[in-house]
């Protein structure tokens, strides 16, 4: 096949015919056939179709953008369930709550890729999506803090400080017996 391409095509039969430029055809149209009216009809149809598609895409994009909200509620419930003590369950939930928004934020472009259209304005859904995910992230961080895993207290910064050195040294006591 590759080779054939290199030499140039000898002949080809095109079974499909949807071109509407008559000049491209060598064969004249059959009698009584008006190509113009058909062309007109076809183009309006496709435009309508495209509009519908764009609408659908925009709608879908908004749906996708709102999806993290459900997630957020779900997460909130799970976190409430996990309690405020550090153990396997609560740590797992908290970390998934942190990782999910981050990975979602990384893939913002990919998520909205299917809905990319010149006619669809994706900025607003994207912003909503990002905002909701940031909200999720904030929830995760808040949870982390309630678990006491964030160094937000003075105790987190001083608990490993060794005792201060003393300038003076004093020894002695009772006489040895």
């Amino acid at each position: 096949m590759e080779k054939g391409k290199g030499i140039g095509r000898r002949w080809a039969v095109d079974f499909t015919d949807n071109s509407n430029a008559p000049s491209s055809r060598d064969v004249p149209d059959p009698l009584g056939f008006s190509r113009a009216s058909l062309d007109q009809d076809d183009s309006t149809l496709s435009r309508q179709k495209k509009d519908a598609e764009a609408n659908w895409k925009a709608q879908k994009a908004w749906e996708v953008a709102q999806a993290p909200f459900k997630n957020l509620l779900m997460m909130g419930f799970m976190m409430w369930m996990a309690g405020s003590t550090v153990h396997l369950f609560s740590i797992g939930i908290t970390f998934s709550a942190l990782l999910q928004p981050i990975s979602a934020l990384q893939g913002v472009g990919k998520v909205f890729d299917p809905y990319k259209d010149s006619k669809v304005d994706l900025l607003a859904p994207k912003l909503l999506f990002i905002a909701l995910n940031l909200g999720g992230l904030a929830l995760g961080v808040w949870k982390l803090n309630t678990l006491g895993l964030l160094p937000t207290h003075a105790s987190d910064w001083v608990s490993s400080l060794p005792p201060a050195q003393e300038v003076e040294y004093s020894g002695g006591g009772m006489p040895l017996y």
Binding site: G83, H153, V158, S170
Partner: protein, 998 residues
């Protein structure tokens, strides 16, 4: 859902309120602990050689132990420790089945069953005035006992009698039930009884002694009813020194007041006759005084003149003649009657590397029954005492064995020229303990050894695995236990990664230094310190303390570690001190430092020189400070820190606490640049009419504190006041110095102080009204725990004081801390007068404490436990969190989460938390803890008459796998998992292929 939360909360509450237990399983006993039983230096021994049954010897010791030992092995059959308040005076065996002990200066008489040591009876013998106490037990056989000069079986109403002279009264006590049959007060006769004598086959007892010293008295008493038959007295013009020996049933030897004349006293035929002999008549160039050596040999006695021991025989005519003059150390036994009318005694002479034992007939000096020379370890020192016993050889002749007590308090049984067994009973009187590291393991282990080890290792683990899976038979279970207990790993002579293997350097009262291996408690080396032996110019040396002299690490690794032993010649504080440095690897005494000055205090300084020798400051009785080691390098290090070194002294008698500072070099006759003058800086005088110091305690200088902050509930922080320079002082009302209960609560109080030893500032003072000593205290990090007796509550109480630094409390801004803008790491000076606050709380505690110590770990992260030596000679581990002054009756949720326990009125005692489990450390005197390298673990050494060593993990071993962890199981699991991975991988590949072909 709510249900789940409730369950979860309940579980949480359960876990946070349950106390961790530290008990062990039965098969873990002896895995990491060892226990050694001792008796102390034997004062007297009585042999019991019944024809049937096991041969045993009953002894009593300086540690107030009465014990029955197996004559074949030296093992203890039974043992009773009577304690320091009930000192044993004499023991004897009566009727062949009772051991009679007389204690408390003759006030207490007890009979113990000889085979098992059960007490049969106890009698209290009252008297009017204290006097010499004598015990006289009749001998059942018709031969003369060596203990009391003459005794026959006394029959009074078919009861056998024990005669006891104590507190001025003569008592006759029934052996069977301890009933006092009669009592004769001899104080009315004006006689100080020295000897009780009963001639053969008569019912008359002679009590002889001195009235006023020039007068000699002899009383005849009817043994049946205690009636005084006759009282003779005679006056000797020269006076008496007070010593009296009996050489036969009616002849006594005394020395005159000048100790230069020997007086032979005869009470024959009811009249007293004196016969005096000048010592110079039969001892050439005698000058000075002679001391009669206490002995009980018929016809022979010994006197000590200067360094000589002279043996003198009393002839039938009543003449004295010298039979031998020995100028070395010699020990003479009492007389032993071994067959019809035959009496013998033993004489042990000291030689180099060996001792010479001679057994002779007491009536015939020239013929020796036995002469043996026994190889003797020089580290045992001189022979102090000897006790002989006879046995029947197979050829019907008599053989002799001797129990020998040496200078280092060890006990040996000698028979046929050989040491049959020996006991290191010096270890019953431990004075001080320190630790030393073992040598680092050298590279280059031989291949054969590794292979052997690998095979053994595999075999051991397979056995263990079998045990874990419950497949092992009883034999194999026993084998597993044997492997665990006899693990060579724990008794190796090299350092281990966990720091469990160390040497315990122990100084005993005899002046002997022992190195014990922490793995199994064996003696690695022992050294009778030359400087702590009696010598000219040092009559009664005593060992005081041991200090770490050189602990090589880092750059001085090739040096051997060494310890400093401090002693003193005599009991006065101004007596010259003795120092010696001992290498802990080899047990050799390095060049002894001859201290010419007295030693009142030893202050180890926190500085070391280039060879890791620690600088020590020794304070003498004139308040001069002497720097050791005496090197130029030490002095240059010292000069750098000169201005910051202070010292303090506690004068208990005057009730004064004084702080001193170093001034300048001493001005002595000989210039000494290592000697410094000091001057008083401050003093705290406790009013003598209301306060008397009874206890002081400071932090251990080796203690490591991990952090200065204490995180409390709600993530709040409190800053600990961690200072090395704080002393805890407890004073009580002078009236309340006596026993508990000797004062009313109104006139008794306990005042506790926390005092800064640099500035003399009193950081905290608190009064406990109605409380009394004794006070036992322990100081660690920023807290003190002390125990005392509450007279109002009739219970012991434990209090805790925690000190917090208020001047650092405002370091709470997170951003300042993040950026490092805080003063928490800046050096702290006592002169800046940091503001402190204290918190304290008291609890009831059921046990009487003998000693309190605290666990110490290498980094100070692990939570602490208090180790309390109880009156039952056991050691109880108590979590520090029970003694937390922040405990409240109803802790808030946050406080509960923090781990704060609800406040209770008394401290719980959990039977599982006894460190000594089922064992007793008789006569417990001290608890020493030392960190292992493993952070979770601390080593504890408990000493008294017995020794006990164990490994503790106050927060459990969170940083290592447990002893019984099955490595084999882990290995098998890993292998199985790897196999499973390979198999599933192959299977999935195959399935993938099939999918593709479809």
């Amino acid at each position: 859902m709510a249900m789940a939360i409730r369950v979860f909360l309940l579980l949480l509450l359960f876990f946070s309120s349950s106390y961790p237990t530290f008990s062990l399983y039965e098969d873990q006993i002896g895995l990491m602990d060892w226990h050694q039983q001792y008796i102390g230096k034997v004062k007297h021994a009585v042999f019991h050689t019944q024809k049937a049954g096991r041969k045993r010897v009953v002894v009593f010791t300086e540690e107030n132990v009465v014990a029955s030992l197996d004559l074949r092995s030296g093992e203890i059959f039974w043992r009773h420790v009577l304690g320091t308040k009930d000192a044993i005076n004499e023991i004897d065996i009566a009727l062949g089945k009772y051991v009679i002990t007389m204690s408390s200066e003759g006030s207490m008489l007890r009979a113990w069953n000889l085979p098992d040591g059960q007490m049969v009876w106890e009698s209290f013998l009252s008297g009017l005035k204290p006097s010499k106490s004598l015990l006289s037990v009749p001998f059942i056989r018709n031969v003369i006992n060596y203990r009391s000069s003459v005794q026959t079986s006394l029959k009074v109403d078919k009861d056998n009698l024990v005669l006891v002279y104590s507190n001025g009264c003569l008592h006759a006590v029934s052996i069977i039930d301890g009933e006092i049959l009669w009592k004769k007060d001899l104080t009315t006769e004006g006689i100080e009884v020295q000897q009780l004598v009963q001639p053969l086959g008569s019912d008359i007892i002679y009590a002889v002694g001195f009235g006023n010293l020039p007068q000699f008295d002899a009383c005849q008493i009817n043994a049946k009813n205690g009636e005084l038959l006759k009282h003779d007295s005679a006056t000797f013009p020269g006076g008496f020194s007070g010593e009296l020996l009996s050489v036969s049933s009616d002849t006594f030897v005394a020395s005159d007041a000048t100790r230069s004349i020997l007086v032979l006293i005869s009470i024959r035929d009811g009249s007293i006759s004196f016969r005096q002999t000048y010592i110079s008549d039969f001892v050439q160039d005698f000058s000075g005084t002679a001391v009669l050596l206490p002995s009980k040999i018929t016809g022979i006695f010994a006197i000590k003149i200067d360094t000589f021991t002279v043996l003198i025989r009393v002839t039938v005519e009543g003449k004295l003649e010298v039979v031998d003059k020995i100028d070395q150390g010699v020990a003479i036994s009492d007389v032993l009657s071994f067959s019809e009318g035959q009496q013998a005694f033993a004489l042990v002479q000291q030689g180099r590397n060996k001792i010479q034992m001679t057994v002779k007939h007491s009536h015939d000096w020239n013929s020796g029954l036995l002469e043996e020379s026994i190889e003797m370890d020089q580290q045992r020192g001189l022979v102090h005492k000897v006790f002989i016993n006879h046995y029947l050889r197979t050829d019907k002749s008599y053989g002799f064995r001797a129990l020998i007590v040496m200078e280092d308090h060890s006990l040996l049984l000698v028979q046929q020229g050989e040491i049959v067994w020996s006991r290191e009973d010096g270890l019953a009187s431990v004075v001080d303990v320190t630790t030393a590291e073992l040598p680092v393991e050298k590279d280059g282990v031989s291949v054969a050894k590794v292979e052997q080890n690998l095979f053994e290792w595999l075999k051991g683990h397979l056995l263990k695995l079998k045990g874990t899976l419950m497949l092992a038979g009883p034999n194999e279970v026993a084998e597993i236990q044997r492997i665990r207990l006899k693990s060579t790993e724990k008794s190796k002579m090299t350092r281990d990664n966990n720091g469990f293997r160390k040497l315990l350097i122990v100084l005993t009262r005899a002046g002997k230094l022992f190195a014990l291996h922490t793995g199994d408690g064996r003696v690695v080396w022992s050294l009778l310190l030359h400087s702590l032996r009696k010598s000219e110019g040092c009559e009664s040396p005593i060992g005081l303390n041991i200090y770490q002299w050189q602990v090589p690490h880092h750059h001085a690794m090739d040096e051997n570690p060494s310890v400093l032993v401090v002693g003193r010649c005599g009991y006065n504080l101004d007596a010259p001190g003795v120092l010696s440095i001992v290498d802990t690897y080899t047990g050799m005494e390095l060049n002894p430092l001859g201290a010419t000055h007295s030693i009142v205090q030893v202050i180890p300084l926190p500085f070391t020189d280039s060879t890791e020798q620690r600088l020590h400051l020794l304070i003498d009785s004139d308040q001069h400070a002497h720097l050791y080691p005496r090197t130029r390098e030490a002095i240059s290090i010292f000069q750098r820190e000169f201005a910051n070194i202070y010292w303090y002294s506690v004068e208990v008698d005057n009730g004064v606490l004084r702080g001193h500072v170093l001034k300048d070099n001493c001005i002595l006759e000989v210039a000494d640049e290592y000697c410094f003058n000091t001057r008083d800086l401050w003093s705290i005088v406790f009013p003598s009419e209301s306060e008397k110091i009874i206890a002081t305690v400071t932090r251990k200088s080796s203690e490591v504190v991990h952090t200065q902050a204490k995180v409390i509930a709600e993530q709040d922080v409190m800053y600990k006041y961690v200072s090395q320079n704080v002393i805890f002082v407890a004073t009580i009302a002078p009236k309340a110095i006596g026993e508990i209960g000797s004062v009313t609560p109104e006139e008794s109080w306990l005042v506790v102080y926390l005092i800064d030893t640099v500035t003399g500032r009193i950081l905290h003072r608190m009064i406990h009204h109605g409380s009394q000593g004794p006070v036992h205290a322990v100081f660690s990090e920023n807290w003190v725990v002390y125990q005392y007796f509450n007279l109002r509550a009739h219970r012991y109480e434990m209090s805790v004081i925690e000190i917090y630094d208020q001047s650092r409390a405002d370091n709470k801004d997170v951003w300042r801390l993040v950026l490092g803008k805080h003063n928490l790491t800046s050096p702290l000076s006592s002169f800046s007068r940091p503001e402190v606050i204290t918190k304290s709380q008291s609890y009831f505690f059921t046990h009487t404490a003998k000693a309190i110590a605290v666990t110490s770990t290498s980094k100070g992260i692990t939570s602490k436990q208090l180790l309390i030596g109880t009156v039952g000679d056991q050691v109880l581990a108590l979590d520090k969190r029970f003694l937390d002054p922040r405990r409240t009756v109803n802790p808030t949720q946050a406080e509960k989460e923090e781990g704060l326990l609800p406040l209770t009125d008394s401290l719980p005692i959990m039977p599982q938390s006894y460190v000594t489990h089922a064992l007793k450390v008789e006569g417990l005197r001290g608890i020493v803890t030392m960190p292992a390298k493993l952070e979770s673990t601390t080593l504890a050494f408990i000493y008294g008459v017995d020794l006990f060593f164990t490994r503790l993990a106050p927060s459990k071993t969170y940083d290592s796998l447990t002893e019984d962890f099955s490595y084999a199981l882990l290995l098998i699991t890993i292998v199985a998992l790897v196999l499973a991975i390979i198999v599933t991988w192959v299977l999935s590949e195959r399935k993938d292929l099939q999918e593709k072909w479809r």
